[in-house]
């Protein structure tokens, strides 16, 4: 059985409109940030989630943890239906599911010391009987993420971005969770620091047997550390599968263009670019049919009308595109 199972999960944000709009029956503005998503995460694996800014990655991560109450759908964790738990059960569940945030500055309360921040989960869940025990546990986990004992009584502003991210990781880990949503934990960091954090996260996973949902917009990062990858576009998953498979043989035109856009050190020469015109459409008024059709170089008239179904295109590899059968590829190397 999968550790985490997400079925038909949707999260819609309702716009604030005036009473007169309501009276006159004007349509409500709804942001369909996450739309009818199914996915599973096996114990011990890393599922990478990739997509452009605003496509709903963070929303999906938060909806799974019920940090934002899902509009629709079901989340099952280790057999328990998370979306149906009462507040007390939910609180207990929170110990087992954690999150690491993108912004190392905003995710730590500037008025609390490291010891307080990291010790908070212990206090909330009564995981330490005495203050001394709590402190000991905090010190242990901090040491594990690479913070020195002398730094425990400092405040977040006295740390660099990378160190702050370590504090955030320690906080997520101190209650010994099984599953962690990593919401772009390295995006804000410099390359050299980013590598440190990635290495740390991988080590911790191995040691503690963790499972990650790893959100990133950097295909290189996902390609490096994830076992499976899900590609999101406008609140929907357009392609999902084992990382090697998807990277080697991307089937959805969006995945393909995403990959071709990544500048890579190794490709010192010029590559042929898949040039996507235009920007991500507003989730307020998503396009009809296949949501990618407005930017897709392969789009036909049918794409604007028919919503593509998710199809299996290989072992554990699914994609949703009307032209899958044609086996088209946008990617081709320009001969050097």
């Amino acid at each position: 059985m999968s550790l985490l199972k997400v079925e038909g999960l949707s999260k819609h944000y309702e716009g604030r409109d005036g009473i007169f709009d309501r009276i006159t029956g004007r349509e409500k503005t709804v942001v369909r940030a996450v739309n009818d998503i199914d996915l599973t995460v096996e114990k011990g694996e890393i599922l990478g989630l990739i997509g452009e800014s605003g496509c709903g990655k963070s929303t999906l991560g938060r909806a799974i943890l019920r940090l934002h109450e899902p509009t629709k759908g079901r989340v099952t964790f280790d057999g328990a239906e998370v979306t149906a738990l009462d507040p007390a059960q939910m609180k207990a569940m929170r110990r087992r599911m954690q999150i690491i945030f993108q912004d190392p500055y905003a995710s730590l309360n500037p008025r609390r010391t490291v010891a307080e921040i990291v010790g908070l989960p212990l206090r909330l869940h009564g995981l330490a009987k005495t203050d001394a025990e709590a402190r000991e546990k905090v010190a242990a986990i901090c040491a594990r993420v690479g913070l020195k004992p002398g730094q425990l009584d400092r405040y977040p502003h006295q740390f660099s971005g990378g160190q702050r991210q370590r504090i955030g990781i320690a906080r997520a880990l101190v209650s010994h969770p099984e599953f962690i949503v990593c919401d772009e934990p390295v995006s804000a960091l410099d390359v050299s620091i980013q590598a440190q954090i990635i290495a740390l996260l991988l080590e911790l996973k191995r040691e503690m047997g963790l499972t990650y949902l790893f959100i990133s917009h950097d295909i290189s990062v996902i390609g490096y550390l994830a076992d499976r990858v899900a590609v999101m576009y406008l609140g929907e998953i357009v392609e999902m599968g084992p990382v090697e498979e998807v990277l080697a043989n991307p089937r959805h035109p969006y995945t393909q263009s995403l990959m071709s856009a990544v500048p890579e050190v190794d490709h010192a020469g010029r590559r042929k670019r898949v040039r996507l015109t235009g920007d991500l459409p507003s989730p307020l008024r998503p396009p009809s049919g296949c949501k990618f059709h407005t930017r897709c170089p392969l789009a036909t008239d049918a794409c604007g009308k028919i919503v593509p179904k998710t199809e299996t295109v290989g072992p554990g590899h699914t994609a949703a595109c009307l032209r899958l059968a044609e086996n088209l590829s946008l990617l081709e190397e320009v001969p050097a």
Partner: protein
């Protein structure tokens, strides 16, 4: 400025305080405020005379340095022959007490209301925000006068009358800050860890919205002191013979042509204290709001 080496466990609060201490003008003014406070507390030991001792033969006696004055009545006497200096010293008690009490009540209520509105949103927010709108739509003085008329005179009633509307200001500030803060990731982190609403509001959000509130509170305290004086001016001040600076100015204004000292000295006292509080609060803001520090 010399480089200050970071202390091992330096909180933001302490860092801000040390920023503040570096601002010499603000420190001087904070000192003045403290001096006024000391004066208020130790009034009985400092004041040269009983502030309520009337002596009709000293009616409107001028300050010492003017012909007819006496050094033992340094700033002269009021219409009932009471020593103005002593009354100013005792008056500090009332002005500072009213200022502190009003601000304390208003800030406490305002913080709770603002936190609830900003964090809980929904009908709580609607209710509080509407109430705030309604109270803001009321002209302050009319509201205070109306309340004073309703509740009758008395120190506590003055405090209530001023606090009834004063809480709106911290409430608005806190609500605004809370709306911003509640979206920050560390609040979300606390929620992800299973923290309750109370924990989040009081332990995570509150400390972070406190510094704007402190700044606003000091500014408003200066304002409240003037407002109390205005109430006295309109005849709704503290009860005689208690000296309040406002009532001293107000009573003395009738004599301004023939005995300027009766209202001028308490007026200067108000000016000085309010000025000192304002400068202090500005220093606090500069120190506590990193956007203004260089």
């Amino acid at each position: 400025m010399t480089a200050d080496t970071p202390v091992a466990s330096e909180s933001i609060f302490r860092r801000n305080l040390s920023n503040f201490a570096a601002n010499r003008l603000a420190m001087a003014c904070a000192l003045i405020v403290v001096l006024f406070a000391v004066m208020a507390v130790f009034a009985p030991w400092i004041a040269p005379h009983d502030p309520n001792e009337t002596d009709l033969f000293r009616r409107l006696q001028p300050p010492a340095w003017i012909a007819g004055g006496e050094w033992s009545f340094l700033l002269g006497c009021d219409a009932l022959g009471r020593d103005i200096l002593s009354r100013i010293i005792y008056g500090a008690r009332i002005s500072i007490f009213i200022g502190l009490a009003v601000i304390f009540v208003a800030t406490t209520v305002g913080i709770l209301a603002g936190l609830a509105a900003g964090y809980l949103r929904g009908w709580v927010d609607i209710l509080i925000s509407r109430l705030v709108d309604i109270l803001l739509g009321f002209p302050y003085l009319i509201f205070a006068i109306g309340l004073m008329a309703m509740m009758g005179p008395g120190l506590w009633n003055i405090i209530l009358a001023l606090a009834y509307k004063e809480w709106v200001i911290p409430a608005r500030v806190v609500r605004g800050e809370t709306l911003v803060t509640r979206e920050l990731e560390y609040v979300e982190a606390a929620r992800a860890l299973g923290a309750s609403r109370w924990h989040i509001m009081l332990r995570e959000i509150l400390p972070n919205v406190l510094s704007p509130v402190i700044v606003v509170a000091t500014i408003r305290m200066a304002h409240v002191i003037i407002l109390e004086a205005s109430l006295s001016f309109l005849g709704l001040g503290v009860q005689p013979p208690t000296a309040s600076w406002g009532s001293m100015v107000s009573d003395g204004r009738a004599f301004i042509l023939e005995a300027w000292w009766v209202s001028t000295f308490p007026g200067l006292a108000i000016l000085l204290l309010v000025l000192a509080i304002n400068v202090t609060s500005q220093g606090l803001r500069d120190a506590f709001d990193p956007r203004f520090s260089e």
